[in-house]
């Protein structure tokens, strides 16, 4: 049998009381309530983290790396998402934040924003070298990649065959640091500082390579207090040990539209939020979206600054990023020739293609599936259409689907309007 599907959230059964909030919020209808507990259907979950945001009982925990885990490595590297610059107000400068982060116990901090700028150049190169197909879809958000594999399997070939900046940065860093400090590559621990738990999926179960270049992902929430305290006590002023060469292009990757800001094409579109992403992918699938070169989709509202593991209000975070973009300007200091050389060596490329992983059909046998489809329509007509979720399925249609899929012990009597309540 195939290995169990890895996910980045865990339901704490001692806290979950089986209310319907997460089940209702789930955009892929991956949650059911059984015996008063929320259950995740592994092959339907895309790790978007919507359940994490809405749980009123704090019963859903992200499975990110604990900060103490970094001590397993001789050399500890932090690779913060540029989202980190949005979290401490417009008065905190990138260098100060990076130094405060380093002070938490890292040997070295690398600004992922620089890898974002390299990736912008590489995306441009990719678009010029690959005139078809269109639109090319960004691979940055691991949830979007999973969403396409599951819900839009026919679109996997449109995903850019290039690793996202966090992987590119880690790959480059491990090689460079190992050479510079004469330390074995396996003694270097590289940790992404992340606004979302989904990165854990792409680290633990990478789709496009044998093994991720990252060793883990630490939640911004976890390191937030430590950085905040250090920034507050700034009278001793951090010695500026890390001086980033970052520009507004790299910083901008943390908000929706940031990725396309770095590329030349006018025919680039950015979309954020899970429902709008599903909507635009539906249009791409129907061939409705023509004349678009590049499609940036980020599952969190307003982009990564809207991630479930961020602390700062996302509207303030966005304002901070926009102010930093103005301050740091739109001109990258990255050497385009260097990036082109790396591109030439396939440094950015996937090791292997992304495979479609569609939701299981109603039945593996087509004739049976059609029978079940008809049965489902018949059952649906008898259901009240209130979509209350008390049966344990998110809405009447999904309940009808669960019934024809022969969920064990499930009968139409589960419906409170038709039979006895059994929640």
């Amino acid at each position: 049998m195939s290995e169990p599907i890895y996910h980045s959230v865990k339901i704490d059964e001692t806290k979950c009381i089986g209310c319907v909030v997460c089940m209702k919020a789930c955009p892929t209808k991956a949650i059911r309530i059984k015996q008063r507990k929320a259950r995740v259907i592994g092959e339907r979950c895309i790790d978007c983290g919507e359940c994490l945001r809405v749980c009123p009982y704090n019963a859903i925990t992200p499975l990110t790396t604990q900060a103490s885990d970094i001590n397993r490595f001789k050399m500890k590297i932090a690779l913060p998402s540029p989202v980190i610059y949005s979290q401490f107000g417009p008065g905190s400068m990138p260098d100060e934040i990076l130094n405060a982060l380093k002070d938490l116990g890292f040997d070295y901090v690398y600004d992922e924003a620089l890898a974002c700028e390299m990736t912008s150049i590489a995306i441009q190169e990719y678009l010029e070298r690959n005139p078809t197909p269109r639109p090319i879809i960004s691979s940055t958000c691991p949830v979007v990649v999973r969403l396409i594999q599951r819900l839009f399997p026919g679109l996997v070939s449109l995903i850019i065959r290039m690793e996202p900046p966090r992987e590119i940065a880690a790959k480059n860093l491990r090689k460079e640091l190992s050479r510079e400090y004469k330390i074995s590559e396996s003694d270097i621990g590289i940790f992404h500082i992340t606004p979302c738990p989904a990165k854990m999926v792409s680290i633990n179960r990478p789709e496009t390579m044998e093994k991720s270049h990252l060793n883990g992902a630490i939640s911004i929430k976890e390191i937030y207090n430590g950085i905040m305290l250090r920034l507050k006590n700034r009278e001793k002023k951090f010695l500026v040990q890390t001086q980033s060469q970052v520009s507004g292009i790299g910083i901008g990757w943390s908000i929706s539209g940031g990725e396309i800001r770095g590329i030349k094409s006018d025919l680039a579109v950015s979309v954020s939020g899970v429902y709008d992403t599903i909507k635009i992918l539906n249009d791409v699938e129907s061939g409705k979206i023509k004349n678009i070169d590049y499609l940036e989709c980020l599952i969190c509202p307003d982009g990564c600054i809207g991630g479930p593991l961020t602390v700062e209000n996302r509207f303030l975070a966005k304002s901070t990023i926009l102010s930093l973009i103005r301050k740091f300007g739109g001109k990258s200091r990255i050497d385009t020739n260097y990036v082109q050389q790396l591109y030439e060596k396939n440094f950015f490329s996937f090791e292997r293609d992304i495979k479609p992983k569609p939701f299981p059909p109603l039945d593996p046998n087509k004739n049976e599936a059609i029978k079940k489809l008809k049965k489902k329509e018949k059952i649906l007509k008898t259901l009240p259409g209130i979509n209350c979720g008390v049966c344990g399925s998110p809405d009447c249609e999904t309940f009808a689907e669960d019934l024809v899929r022969n969920e064990q012990g499930l009968t139409v009597g589960r419906c409170v309007f038709l039979g006895e309540s059994n929640l």
């Binding site: 399997p153 026919g154 679109l155 699938e285 129907s286 023509k290 569609p358 939701f359 599936a369 059609i370």
Partner: protein, 147 residues
């Protein structure tokens, strides 16, 4: 060779209703997903049926889109009541369009509709009577991945 129909669904399309244009092809797509049709075949059906639906929305009074599934084929049949196409050969040429400037403003009328349907179909039949309507039959084989 005629084959037994294992599923047949019908959808009405209203001419001029751009708001709901695309709903029928989207429902067809979702049905085929639930049945487990291969991803690449699904995409071809999605594109061809969307183009066919939008042709009805743009040019006809009304139309019916039928999804017919046999063990080896997906067939999309579209019958509309409308102006018809005087010169099918011309309409099949990429870039040829009779779309109004307003339609073009909305992003339609690139003259790729029929050629795009043909490109995605294994068999494409089109008949039209001027001032009466147009009938399309798009067949996409299930077993041929056409990669």
């Amino acid at each position: 060779m005629e084959q037994e129909t294992i599923l047949q669904e019908e959808f009405e399309i209203a001419g001029g209703d751009f708001v709901n244009g695309g709903v029928a092809s989207c429902r067809i797509k979702n049905i085929l997903k639930e049945i487990g049709v291969d991803a690449n075949i699904l995409r071809r059906v999605a594109i061809a049926s969307y183009e066919a639906e939008m042709n009805v929305v743009m040019y006809a009074k009304k139309g019916i889109m039928k999804l017919i599934l046999t063990p080896n084929k997906v067939i999309i049949r579209v019958d509309d009541e409308g102006p018809g196409i005087p010169d099918i050969e011309l309409a099949m040429q990429p870039g040829y369009s009779t779309a109004t400037p307003e339609m073009r403003e909305m992003g339609f009328g690139a003259g790729m509709g029929l050629p795009n349907i043909k490109k995605n179909a294994d068999v494409f039949n089109i008949n039209s009577t001027v001032n009466k309507g147009t009938n399309l039959e798009i067949t996409i084989n299930l077993n041929n991945k056409n990669e």
